[in-house]
């Protein structure tokens, strides 16, 4: 057998490990093993690639060293509450790598032959997809990261590090565009007039990305038209590149225009839709990898890339279903109050406020308490305090459970991670469909920082923007306590009649502070 055969066998082993990894990741007991197996598979794939052949090591070692150090320090330091941002930014690096590998493959092939690329039609199409999907993923993920870290497309004053990333990244993007335009447009004696034009257009597209990234709002007039235009242009340039694959400037132009598309698609996505966006970008990062696999004819890239692509699509579908919205609606639609939305003052006429002492008395008599967390709990970092309260109640023999809406938070499974961080056993986390059947037996339901996911309007008003969205039926509980800072609307921008229901009491306070006060009151009353 040749070295290449051994290498391909090693790739096969790695591919099998990846599949088993994902299979094991689907069960709490085997998940840790699964992750180890995946990492082991990756090590095999990397070892098989670099061993047994003559290599130029310089850039391999520098790149691998720098990447490992950055990846390690990011992952080791990140807080559990910042997990959505972390997952968002990691997606982007995968996408960025695909763009660069596509470029390197194209340049290498073209310069080896002098003219043309020697690539078949399928490799050319794959190269185009590598650039297109990769660049959409890279810039889309950066925007998702920026929105989750709350420094992109916002009006308020930024902290120092936020400013540094926001303007630094925009400036680097713009400078890369300018540098490329100057290098080809002014300094390259061999560049044809057409090359120069394309290079300057590339500069324009990168400047455009940089400019949009510094905007202070997430929508502007004609944005949807721009999205379609960027999508059409990306495909158009892609087709041109397939017809003229040796045209390297065209490749960078494609990367630039797809980058504009990625930014536009993600920047208008609001908080509650973030889980869909993150899952979708995850899928893209895999598909970009698979496309790269087609470019260099490598099976392990295709297998791993399509596994990730598939898992991202499955998650996206679960998230969309949990919101009763289509993917097009998330990407292109807008969400907000409609003309039929009832007036908030009218709805909230009968709202009753309560105090920590009153809540403590109610909890004292309760047998079954359900806590319904939302993004507000994550913002207030109240998960540990929530667990303390639950522990206190459990000591008294009260049954405490948690009802988790699939899209609560900013990424799929966000609430589960936070509650797990606070040491809450996952057996106590109940899925929406399960807990809804038992909700009428629940004595006290405590809503911590959630709004739209408990809004009964979704079931009653077919004209509401959230009509048909499955909700946690908190209104069925004997008593509902809502901990919220004010009566401000949730992401959907509509009032929530639950807050004014007969069995509902509002406790206006910051999530963490509120629970701490309740804990004190419970301790005093016993």
């Amino acid at each position: 057998m040749h070295t290449q055969d051994f290498r391909d066998l090693a790739y096969l082993v790695a591919a099998v490990f990846f599949i088993v990894d994902l299979k094991w990741m689907a069960h709490p007991r085997t998940a840790v093993r699964g992750n180890y197996l995946g990492a082991f598979g990756m090590a095999i794939a990397i070892a098989a690639t670099v061993l047994g052949q003559s290599m130029t090591w310089k850039y391999v070692l520098i790149g691998a060293g720098v990447g490992t150090v950055i990846g390690w320090s990011m992952a080791a330091k990140v807080k559990m509450t910042s997990m959505p941002e972390m997952v968002g930014i990691l997606n982007g690096f995968g996408g960025g790598a695909s763009v660069l590998v596509g470029a390197a493959a194209l340049i290498g092939a073209q310069q080896a032959l002098g003219s043309g690329t020697g690539m078949g039609l399928q490799e050319e199409i794959a190269t185009v997809l590598s650039a297109l999907i990769g660049s959409v993923t890279f810039y889309g993920s950066y925007v998702a990261f920026g929105k989750l870290a709350e420094f992109l497309a916002v009006k308020w004053k930024l902290k120092g590090w936020q400013k540094a990333i926001k303007y630094g990244f925009a400036a680097v993007t713009a400078l890369i565009g300018i540098a490329y335009g100057v290098a080809v447009g002014l300094l390259d004696p061999n560049a044809s007039g057409r090359d120069k034009l394309i290079a300057w257009l590339t500069t324009v597209s990168f400047l455009l990305i940089g400019w949009i990234l510094t905007l202070k709002k997430d929508r502007f007039p004609g944005m949807d038209v721009c999205k379609w235009l960027a999508a059409a242009l990306s495909i158009g340039i892609g087709v041109l590149l397939v017809l003229d694959p040796a045209n390297i400037p065209l490749y960078w132009l494609l990367a630039g225009v797809s980058g504009v598309l990625g930014v536009l698609l993600t920047i208008s996505i609001g908080g509650a839709d973030m889980p869909v966006a993150i899952a979708l970008l995850n899928s893209y990062s895999g598909l970009a990898g698979a496309a790269t696999g087609f470019v260099i004819g490598n099976s392990v890239l295709i297998v791993a890339g399509s596994l990730v692509g598939a898992s991202g699509i499955v998650l996206t579908k679960i998230m969309c279903k949990a919101m009763n919205r289509s993917m097009t609606n998330v990407l292109f639609g807008t969400m907000g109050p409609t003309a039929d939305t009832p007036d908030a003052e009218e709805v909230y006429r009968t709202v009753k406020a309560t105090s920590a002492e009153e809540i403590a008395i109610m909890l004292d008599g309760a047998q079954h308490v359900v806590i319904i967390p939302g993004y507000g709990m994550a913002v207030a970092q109240a998960q540990h305090t929530v667990r303390q309260l639950a522990g206190l109640l459990e000591e008294k023999g009260t049954k405490v459970e948690y009802a988790i809406h699939p899209v609560a938070g900013r990424m799929p499974g966000h609430m589960n991670v936070l509650l797990a961080e606070a040491n809450i056993e996952y057996e106590k986390l109940r899925e929406m469909d399960e807990i809804n059947g038992e909700m009428d037996q629940v004595d006290v339901a405590i809503v911590v920082g959630a709004n739209d996911v408990v809004n009964p309007v979704a079931e009653t008003d077919p004209k509401s923007p959230i009509a048909g969205m499955p909700i946690i039926q908190a209104y069925k509980a004997k008593t509902v306590i809502v901990i919220k800072r004010s009566l401000s609307p949730g992401f959907a921008g509509i009032p929530n009649p639950l807050f004014a229901a007969d069995n509902c009491l509002m406790y206006f306070n910051d999530g963490k502070k509120a629970i701490q006060d309740i804990i004190t009151a419970v301790k005093e009353s016993s």
Binding site: V32, I70, F93, L100, Q122, I278, G289, V308, S311, I313
Partner: protein, 93 residues
């Protein structure tokens, strides 16, 4: 690898992926996402081949070298962060 072979691998892997992942409990959505995300760093293989290939212009090495760094951030960061998260689920009181 011929195009049809590659396409066969692609289509089958998509099916395997959908089948394997379809029944994941919501608790594991985030670790699954970051774990599968680490796998998308497999692009590192392509980047390594090009960054180490002799007889190609320096420019290819530089671009592919940056790609190696990007992909390694994805791989190392993805696996480590998943491990940390799963550790949270494993803790016993």
């Amino acid at each position: 690898m011929t195009f049809v072979t590659a396409l066969t691998v692609f289509v089958l892997a998509i099916y395997v992926g959908v089948e394997v992942i379809n029944k994941v409990p919501p608790t594991l959505h985030t670790p699954l996402m970051s774990g599968s995300n680490a796998l998308s760093g497999i692009t590192v293989v392509g980047a390594l081949i090009l960054a180490g290939q002799p007889d190609v212009p320096e420019l290819v090495h530089v671009i592919a070298g940056v790609a190696v760094a990007f992909a390694m951030i994805n791989v190392v960061g993805g696996f480590l962060v998943t491990h940390r998260m799963l550790g949270m689920f494993q803790k016993k009181r």
